[in-house]
Symmetry: C2
Subunit: 334 residues, 2 copies
DNA sequence: TTGAAAGCGATACCAC
DNA sequence: GTGGTATCGCTTTCAA
């Protein structure tokens, strides 16, 4: 471990004052070309970099945001990784430091950055908000700005979300027009996000004068396995709709496996529609029709909510997603 | 925005000195029970938390590591997310702060934490090291400890890796014993990791006295799409092996799709083996046989290399992976 | 068990 | 263009 140099070391060795060194380091201008070169050469020689802590002590300059990810839902899902990557790229560009934290139980809150670092954090992005989320009360108590991904339970909480209602409405409006008889929605649980999606579908049916009983809603489909066994059971009971919407492309794999075993052809006998458009969706066979969130826009808005640039002051931002048609859709819907 | 309280505010309001407040905040002991209670109540009332920058200025206390992820390889892959999550959980437990950074081109190095924050970082975990990686020279120049995931090009660089050679050797040793005639290895490119894997397979064949020409090596299979089209082309040319090892479960989807179109039955006519054991692998049909890295152990060792606990001083740690047999394996190999 | 005072490494303000 | 100096909030002696 070698000695860490300070601005005073550079000042002494270059023969100028600490303030002038600071001017060079921070590109403040008002420095003679000659002076600048001399100072720079000393800096390079010693490999000096400013001490982050000292720099931010007097006046906080660096921006830092935290991604707080609840992990109780089991395996990390790919859509989240896609947003995280976009957030990372945007923040690198803007010089914002990104922290991540996998929050997995309430007792860990005190170990969390949320509890420890008030002055440190400029904002927090919360994934998987729950009702009465302990993270939110902690953030409020500490006055740390935060934003939730997907519509929040607490309406006073700011969020960025997909246009769940609208995109589902528009997809099913179009399918109804093309003769859709009925659909089953396979969902994890009765969350706000899913309520929006359900309402979109239901309203589309209504707008076509179709009976709402043609929309079958099934909760408890939290992973590919439960999707698989649900379809098998349903087939046995002989109560199947024509189209299956499954909230999460990863889980669609379970639906595919079930239909394959049953000898039912996806894209011919039935249609399957997912949500997320993860990379694998175009490579399973038949290609999975799905709803593609605008990952970059979602990420950008999440960051801007915490570190606003000019006049961003909306509390709720809804980002349009798009429908990607692939072969899992019956011909008549294409 | 409310006023941020300092240790002096707490001292004044509680009637004790800043030092005594510090003793309470940091659980240093040697404080009268009564004093402690009074001070704590003031702290709670005002929601005081220490200023991270001031705390670390005099003597650096907080531990911070950076995950540096190169993104030129396209979509984020799930295995990486699985390691990141484990790293996050381990660090939360240990009170280590985790930064992530998506590094996507050389020019961004100067914006990177690697360049900016010497005093700030206790260590860096590098994903997707390349030959003459600019990140490594920067880290060296700045004397920041780092570790690479998977065997490094530069042998003086510390790394944590899967036991690529050994696990492939052992898998193919067993398959050869059960009558394997030939295998094709579908790989992205000629990296060290893949060389280890290739050598494991080749040595297994040799140890059974089999001709090495039975091991066909194909590079350029970087995603599901290229796997798909490669298999189709190969079938046309009539040059197919019996077993396919594809480096990355996500890409196996392309192989599945191709065989399905060709009417070739995986698990009967051919076998497919992946690497990573991501969640979807058990739900595609037939279930994908694959090699499962010990994600938790990998993560733990990566963290310990940077923040050693007691007597960790190895430079290269190789973590055993395990073979998961599923239905994509022909019966004779089970 | 408690407290006073020096110092960490930058920045900002004001001189020159 | 350049430099002195107080200051940020906490920790660390060292005394009491």
């Amino acid at each position: 471990m070698q000695k860490k140099y300070t601005i005073y070391d550079i000042a002494k060795l270059s023969g100028f004052s600490p303030k002038t060194v600071a001017r060079v380091v921070n590109n403040e201008g008002n420095v003679a070309k000659d002076t600048e070169e001399k100072i720079k050469s000393v800096i390079d020689r010693l490999g000096y970099t400013p001490n982050t802590y000292a720099k931010n002590l007097k006046i906080k300059k660096d921006k830092t945001i935290l991604l707080s990810i609840r992990t109780t839902n089991g395996f990390p899902l790919q859509w989240m990784q896609m947003i995280i990557e976009q957030v990372g790229i945007i923040c690198l560009e803007k010089g914002i430091t990104v922290l991540v934290e996998y929050f997995y139980d309430e007792e860990n809150l005190e170990k969390s950055m949320i509890s420890k670092s008030v002055n440190y954090l400029d904002g927090v992005i919360l994934f998987y908000e729950e009702e009465n989320d302990v993270r939110i009360s902690a953030l409020r108590a500490r006055n740390i700005p935060f934003v939730v991904f997907e519509r929040a339970y607490d309406n006073s909480v700011r969020y960025v979300s997909n246009n769940n209602y609208q995109v589902l409405y528009s997809v099913f409006d179009s399918l109804c027009q093309k003769g859709l008889s009925g659909v089953e929605l396979l969902l994890r649980s009765d969350t706000l996000v899913n309520r929006d999606r359900v309402n979109g579908v239901v309203d589309a049916f209504k707008s076509h004068g179709l009976d709402v009983s043609n929309v079958k809603i099934t909760y408890g489909i939290g992973n590919a396995e439960s999707a698989y066994s649900h379809i098998l059971k349903e087939h046995e009971q002989g109560d199947m709709k024509e189209v299956f919407f499954i909230s999460g492309d990863e889980r669609a794999i379970g639906v595919y496996k079930a239909f394959e075993e049953l000898g039912i052809k996806i894209g011919e006998d039935v249609s399957v529609i997912g949500f997320d458009d993860i990379p694998l969706s175009s490579y399973i066979s038949p290609g999975l029709s799905t709803i593609r969130p605008a990952y970059y826009d979602l990420a950008k808005n999440l960051v801007l909510m915490l570190i606003p640039e000019d006049g961003n002051d909306e509390d709720h931002i809804v980002v349009p997603a798009s429908f990607i048609k692939r072969d899992s859709l019956q011909k008549k819907f294409m």
